[in-house]
Every structure is written in C-alpha cells, then in structure tokens.
C-alpha cells in the first residue's frame, strides 16, 4: 500500500525520494523531535542546515517541533486509517527511537536503500571490508543514474 503521509527525518532529505512519493499523492511531515534532540544535543548551525534544506525541497512539507510520538499519534487520531511510512535511518540510536515511535503510532518502517549488500560477516578492519565490497560497489555505481 502506498503512503498517504511520509514522515521524513534528518537522514532522508532526498529530492528524488520526495518527488517519487509526491507523484503518488503523498504528503510530507518532518518533526524536529524534542526527545531525540535532548538525547543528541546539537548546535543551531545543524538545525538551520536541516531546516534550510527542508524549505528548499520542491514540495510542501509540514514542519513540526515537538515530541514525535505525540505528533504521529495525533496524525493517526485525526485521520483514522492513515497510511504513514518512514525510512529506517542508518544511525542505530535514531533507528531505535523511530522504531519505538512507529510501533506506538502505527507507522510502517521501510528498509533504507543501500549502495550494495553489506558483507555477511562482521568486519572490523577497513581494508578487509574494502576488498570484500569494492567490486559490487563499483558495479552498482557504474549503472547508477543518480538520485537526481
């Protein structure tokens, strides 16, 4: 089922993603989540960089400051049956926060797109990792038209 509301977070401000979703009639929400910001305090510079990007994107995005759990739950209460989706972030701690909100507010978490499949084994040294993924990474980049 396609989303009616797409919840954007700080790792997915991609114009291509947004245009794809907008073409399907999706609306967009970004929450400056006070709980996350309290856990991972940041400077005004970082907030402003994110905010400037949000307002530069070519679709309307509802921007809210507050506890993201409350915001998403309220959306669900206002629009029963609302299909809301979010892309899983890379940051493990942000992922944990988003998983928690998603389960409370009934948001579907989508797998994030990856450049290449990560190695099955845990690799703790870079050049071992590099040798394991280099070929697939280059092949994927060669055929990639870009998210533009």
């Amino acid at each position: 089922m396609s989303a009616q509301l797409f919840w954007l977070h700080e790792e997915v401000l991609s114009e291509a993603l947004i245009q794809t979703q907008a073409a399907e009639g999706c609306r967009f929400l970004f929450v400056f989540d006070t709980v996350w910001l309290a856990q991972r305090p940041i400077s005004l510079k970082r907030i402003q960089f994110i905010y400037e990007t949000l307002v530069a994107l070519p679709v309307a995005i509802e921007i809210v400051y507050g506890d993201a759990t409350d915001v998403l739950k309220q959306k669900g209460q206002e629009h029963p049956g609302l299909v809301c989706q979010v892309i899983a972030p890379k940051d493990p701690e942000l992922a944990e926060r988003i998983d928690g909100i998603a389960s409370e507010a009934g948001v579907a978490v989508l797998e994030r797109p990856r450049w290449f499949a990560p190695p099955a084994n845990k690799i703790a040294r870079f050049f071992k990792f590099y040798n394991a993924v280099r070929g697939e990474a280059l092949d994927a980049a060669r055929v990639h038209r870009g998210d533009l």
């Binding site: 970082r46 907030i47 921007i63 400051y65 506890d67 990792f129 980049a141 060669r142 533009l148």
Partner: protein
C-alpha cells in the same frame, strides 16, 4: 507541539526562529548559522565539487580538493552511490581514491550496525598504557572555547564551531590532542564534534574517535607540529612559539604522552 513556518523573509529570520523555538534543546552558546547553507544540489553542482584526480593528490592538505559534500550526504540530500557514479564518469583509475574514501563511510556504518554499543562505549581497552578511568570525562574549557596554548588547534576549533565543517586531517589532530595530549575520554570529544559538525554522523564520528584513541585500533594516533605544518602550514599558524605543546619529535611526544607504554 508547534507548527513551524516554511517561508522566511531572510536567513536571519530563520536563525531567529530557531534560536527562540529550540532554546531548550540547543547546546549552550554558538547561536550563529554556518556559512554553509542547507540546500538541494543539482547534478551539475555536485559534479563541480568532485575532482577525483586532484582529490587523490591533495586530499590530506587543508586546502586540498576535497568535495565538502559530507553535510549533504549526512542529511540524505545526496547518497554516496550517486557521488561514486559522478566520480566514475571521469574514469575508474582517478576515481579510485575518492570512492575508497566514500566506502570509509559505509565501513563505519557496517561497524556500527554490528556493534551499536561501540557508539559510546570503548570497543577495546586503550593501548596507551592508561586505563579508561585515568581519562577525564569532561572537555576542558580552553578546548571548548578554542583558547588552547596552540594556535593551529584553535584555528581548527573555530572551523568546527563557526562553520560546522572541519577538514578530515584537522579532525584527527583535534581528536588526538583531546584524547592523548589532554587525556580526555574520547566520548567527550565525540559528543562535541557531533553537536557542531554539519556532517556529524555517530558511526563515522564516534568510531573514528575510537580509532584515534586506540580503543578501536592497535595503537594511538598522534601528530606533531611538523606534520601540521606540512599539511596546513600555508593556511594556519604553525609557528613553534605559538604551538608549544606540539613542537617535538614523535619519539619525544610518545615518551611524554605514553610513558607507561614506552617501558
């Protein structure tokens, strides 16, 4: 819960709104925006930033041809695969080093997914001759305010706090200074960087701090003034008299910083 506007008369108006609305969650001080603007970049603009051959030759220099696109990658405005694809358009050989550096970001992600506890906990013991308990947990005021005894480091701290962007080599110098010259736990420095860096990504940032600290690597990373002079000397004050803590050979510094390890 507060709805925020999406149109502003000026950049200053946005800054003012953020300072007021986010007051309770912002870190103390530092209420200025970065000179780097958040924006959507076209393929042509991205391509202009990527010069793989020059990058391979000069990336370690403070004024080297680095793309400075990391803040845009961090927010997902562009992904690493797209940057690799643009770099490859000029040929595989010149793009190799640039792509290798992109893959460092993927590597740190891989490590953080496998060991999320390492984002804030020592992955391994320090290999410095000191126990973790012998490191202070707070960042000293002179570091936080960019008034250390060393002019070059103060320059890099201003980069961090005023622009939110620091050259990678300078990040390593700052991390080594905090952890080894001042014996502060890497976690304090990692949190400081994350608060300010526009590209602040916990996986790459925190595991890189661990690598410098030696809690995710086989030995501590250190540097001396000669090294800073070599890579940053044409841009940054590297005079011995204004950088007294750094002006020594590696042997002398190692003996000074890691006396127990040298035994």
């Amino acid at each position: 819960m507060k709805q925020l506007p999406s149109k502003f008369e000026s950049r200053e108006a946005l800054t003012e709104l953020i300072a007021e609305t986010f007051e309770s969650v912002l870190i103390e001080g530092h209420r200025q925006p970065s000179p780097i603007h958040g924006q959507v970049l076209s393929e042509a603009e991205l391509a202009e930033c990527i010069q793989p051959a020059r990058y391979a030759r000069t990336r370690n220099f403070y004024d080297g041809a680095v793309s400075r696109l990391s803040p845009f990658v961090r927010q997902g405005i562009v992904d690493r695969k797209t940057l690799a694809s643009i770099a490859l358009a000029g040929g595989a050989k010149p793009a190799e080093k640039f792509i290798q550096e992109l893959l460092w970001g993927e590597f740190w992600q891989h490590v953080a997914e496998a060991r999320p506890s390492g984002l804030w906990q020592d992955a391994e013991p320090y290999k410095t001759g000191f126990l973790a308990s012998e490191y202070a947990s707070e960042l000293p005021q002179d570091i936080a305010s960019g008034t250390t005894p060393n002019a070059c480091l103060n320059h890099f701290i201003r980069d961090l706090q005023e622009t939110g962007y620091v050259h990678n080599h300078a990040r390593m110098y700052l991390a080594a200074y905090v952890v080894h010259f001042r014996r502060i736990r890497w976690q304090a420095g990692a949190a400081w960087f994350l608060a300010h860096l526009l590209d602040g990504d916990a996986a790459a940032n925190n595991y890189s701090w661990q690598w410098v600290a030696s809690t995710f690597g086989s030995k501590p990373y250190i540097f001396n003034l000669e090294n800073v002079e070599k890579y940053c000397g044409n841009q940054v004050d590297c005079r011995p008299e204004t950088n007294p803590e750094l002006d020594a050979s590696y042997d002398v510094l190692s003996a000074r910083l890691f006396p127990a390890r040298a035994l």
